[in-house]
Symmetry: C2
């Protein structure tokens, strides 16, 4: 008997096979398809687990009932399992060898015609699908994603439990935490004028759990960010959040690598551990991004030395100003049209580049509007450095070091998208390590954290906090998979003095530090252990594994990019009584009735 | 090597034993206690897993460092595991046979003196403990609760997964659901004047998941209710929430019973399944409560028949008005003082009782101020009906049927608290079934749901909806454990017509039904399967298992009964910029700066 059998059914629609022939069974499910073949009615009865063919012969007492069934009616059918006649067997479906000859047929519920056809190919727009999400979820693709998500959550939990982690629930109604994004807030009725904030992450709580000695914490935690949304963001998302005491970066990395191995194993995919790791500086130089897609081997190379004495003012000028000249080859890119190159140039210019130099290598020679500015030695230097071959293209940018890195990263992404080079691996994990601890906030002129205000500096660079704060590297590490930033973590400051010094560099006075970060700073005074952790985007991970571009495909009830739930019509208006209870008035908004 | 070992330590403080003697180990932890015995320093090094004794002899190179250690300093100690001299071995602790002779000792962090002593017996008030919750959690009792909670969450998940349930996350930012309590709301910045609501439960979503065909859903879900709090409530709590398609009440009950068996097994407790079940009517008659504590056998009995022709106006009057007379015996209750009885009478009167009759049976005869109103036959009838023996007390109430049931239930609770009768079982589970579907709302005069607006009527009583709505019993079931309502569930309406009829009885016009419940009512039109489920209070369950009266003891970062988090100072004020972004103004509240 199936684990999912209940009094209303003996089996699901996905489990009967030749071994069951002769048994009397009861199935429940939805009428998927009905065909009438010469007086014999065939019904595809569908549930989450599969489809079983039901047969109703012309002499059957339920023939008349079967004739009147419509799509998506909910049925309960009792009958005998029979072999399908050889020619009719369907080897492609698990239940394809059998059919159930109906003896009784009960309509558990009728259905109106659905507002759209349950087919991936019906071309229904996403708004309609989201409005009727409960019908959209009948499509196997999305339902399968949710089932896989549930299973992989189990894998994560089982793995972390096996390493002694405890899952500890942290509050959803809490206080603003200093994590950069905007908080969602909740008016507190009992304290008019005061608000809870929804957590952007359990960061502060998990650090306090380490101070409390809980040693190894994890949580599949819901995080909330009131951001202007993009395709791959939701106002709430789920994070595999973990924190460990008495660890180094390597300890956290090993836990994460082991977890990913288990997760991918469960989906039948083999991945290699340990994951490659790169210094932030190095990854920016070679890939122009802190989340490069290393499924592809394209690499940026610095060609500054070729142009040290160049007559080409654009390059020479950049170098003289302390900048760099860098290029990247696109194999087979000579097919780029002028229009495509103009578009790419436009994109770079919008992002602050001065321009984009390109050289095609075709018919044994260079082709480029820049050709006239370059001499033979330079051209041959480029050809050697980038191993340019017939039909390739070379893109070059010159300018300030870090801006040029970013610009070349954009070119790299464009080359991957346009030229579709062969992937050298299916799953390209990468640790990016040692991000700068601080960067200058262009508005305030103060230093600000690059990732997380609680990240520790590299111990050996601690003293540089006094002399060269921008040059201090941190114990911050990002986990990248196929060009997506999957997770971000660090070893934290467990020293109050260091944490306060960093807040000081960020421009906070001692009073402000107490007011804004007092709880965590004070906690460091009572025996805080060395600790570190990471948060890994669970929706994103499942999205990548399911091969979808949109995390909406792996969330049961997602919101649109404008933060609306089309199914429930959230957010919605409150009535006056509710507003009054909360002591709130709506300002500057026209009443909509 | 331990699963929790990391580069900073080879073992935890809870795992070394005689088998490790001779090994060189590195431990990390907190200095719990330090004793100096004739020049030898003994340190109890503590972590989540246990305590290990560290020894520093007078010749040790780290002796000086050890002398200066203070409580709660965070240490890293390397040394050799040695046997404790026979007399010093401590059989009561897992590491009691060994000690670690320190060779190196590193202070990973210092600690200021703690604001309170880490002892259950220190008598610290709860506010102080909550303000420094991260220190409070260093006390083994609370930390153990959290570890057990994590383990039992795993048991629940593993069990439900084994039955084919998928854990599906439902939104936290959603729309108001009609569940009786007040919603927490979240202003939507992108839609000024509109608000999300935090879910009081995933009720609507899980029903929609059944409509979508997800078949078996569960979630350890966070629920939010903006209620005036009581000792056992929190503004957010966790619920084991589940829903199943194609089921009857018995199917849901079997799943829950199997789950509880696994949970209690894991804590070393045996419970019996199936759980006893009682009709709501019957449980009210016999125990005067829909969540009776059946660890105790005390039972209310109806004695109306004894007083059918009574000369005692109080009883006779109640019976003539269609009411009842009911009594309950307290064994050994003759010791009740007049003052105690007066207090109980007061409580009942405050709850609408006309009074409380009591009769003690002492020295072979009755003692009661009511004695003069009762004749011999009545007294002897009572003695027989209630099996009154020497030293017992009998409490009797008369009045309207359901009010009298409630009053007698209060007396029963009081008798249990005062007389502390022997428990007949340690874990008294009970299913209370077939609650009335509807009750009259005293304010509006309309019918309203007793538990859940989506609960189905008993199929055989469906027709009574037209003639006697108050008499219709429902497919609603509550799970009670030791007098606590642990869970509440039902088989739902999957028929749109029935659901609409019930909303109609509640006084909603067709337009209002569409406006308030349109989504779920419409969903029932597209092939909704029969389905049912339950929500079980996870905090409460863990609280009962941990033997605590307060669910704050099983929540990492709980709020006070006024909804404040003393540790983070949530809720707190927003700054003007935030209010402006949300188009909100605070009304009627004096600015507090």
């Amino acid at each position: 008997m199936s684990t999912t059998s209940t009094a209303l059914r003996t089996h699901t629609c996905g489990e009967l096979n030749a071994g069951d022939i002769g048994r009397t069974v009861t199935l429940c499910g939805w009428m998927d398809v009905k065909r009438n073949h010469g007086g014999v009615i065939f019904i595809n009865l569908r549930d989450l687990y599969g489809v079983t063919q039901i047969v109703v012969g012309p002499e059957s007492p339920v023939f008349k009932a079967a004739e009147e069934l419509k799509s998506e009616f909910v049925l309960r059918v009792t009958g005998r399992v029979s072999a399908r006649p050889g020619a009719n067997a369907n080897k492609n479906m698990p239940t394809g060898e059998i059919e159930v000859v109906a003896e009784t047929l009960e309509i558990l519920n009728a259905s109106q015609p659905l507002p759209f056809e349950l087919s991936e190919h019906a071309g229904v727009n996403e708004d309609t699908r989201l409005r009727y999400r409960y019908l959209d979820l009948r499509m196997p693709r999305i339902a399968r994603n949710l089932v896989l998500r549930s299973r992989l959550a189990n894998v994560v939990r089982a793995y972390l439990n096996s390493l002694g982690f405890n899952e500890i629930e942290t509050p959803v109604l809490t206080r603003s935490t200093p994590e950069g994004a905007r908080d969602f807030v909740v008016p507190a009725r009992g304290a008019p004028g005061s608000f809870y904030a929804l957590p952007q992450s359990p960061q502060v709580f998990k650090q306090l759990l380490m101070v409390s000695g809980m040693d190894r914490y994890f949580q599949l935690a819901r995080n909330f960010r009131d951001e202007d949304l993009r395709a791959d963001r939701q106002p709430e998302h789920t994070q595999i959040d973990l924190e460990m005491s008495f660890v180094t970066e390597a300890d956290v990395a090993a836990v994460v690598e082991g977890m990913m191995k288990e997760v991918f194993d469960r989906t039948g995919e083999k991945i290699e551990t340990p994951f490659p790791e790169m210094e932030y500086e190095d990854v920016m130089l070679r890939y122009g991004s802190d989340k490069p897609d290393l499924r592809f081997s394209l690499e940026i190379k610095d060609c500054s030395s070729i142009f040290a004495d160049s007559g080409f003012k654009v390059f020479r000028g950049a170098l003289d100003a302390g900048g760099v000249v860098r290029g990247i080859k696109g194999e087979g890119g000579a097919a780029y049209s002028r229009g495509e190159i103009d578009k790419l140039t436009e994109l770079l210019k919008k992002n602050g580049a001065k321009g984009l130099v390109w050289l095609k290598f075709k018919d044994g020679k260079f082709d480029s509007p820049t050709l006239k500015f370059l001499d033979e030695a330079e051209l041959s230097g480029l050809r050697t450095l980038y191993s340019l071959g017939e039909g390739d293209i070379l893109f070059i940018c010159a300018g300030e070091r870090s801006a040029t890195a970013r610009h070349m990263g954009m070119v790299r992404n464009e080359l991957i998208a346009r030229l579709k080079p062969a992937a050298v691996k299916k799953w390209a994990f990468l640790w990016v390590r040692h991000f700068p601890l601080l960067e200058k906030d262009p508005d305030s002129g103060h230093w600000t954290f690059t990732h997380n205000p609680f990240t520790a500096p590299l111990p050996e660079e601690l003293r540089k906090l006094d002399t060269d704060p921008g040059g201090v590297r941190s114990c911050q590490y990002d986990l990248v998979l196929n060009g997506v930033e999957l997770g971000s973590g660090s070893v934290r400051n467990h020293s109050r003095a260091v944490q306060e010094k960093i807040f000081g560099l960020m421009g906070y006075s001692p009073n402000e530090i107490q007011r804004r970060f007092g709880m965590i700073v004070n906690a460091l005074d009572f025996g805080a252990p060395p600790h570190g952790g990471i948060g890994i985007g669970f929706d994103r991970l499942i999205g990548i594994i399911c091969g979808t571009d949109s995390i909406r495909d792996v969330i049961a009830f997602p919101k649109t990019t404008s933060g609306a739930c089309l199914m429930t019509d959230a957010p919605s208006r409150l009535d006056d009584r509710q507003l009054k209870e909360l002591h709130l008035r709506i300002d500057d908004v026209k009443s909509e009735g």
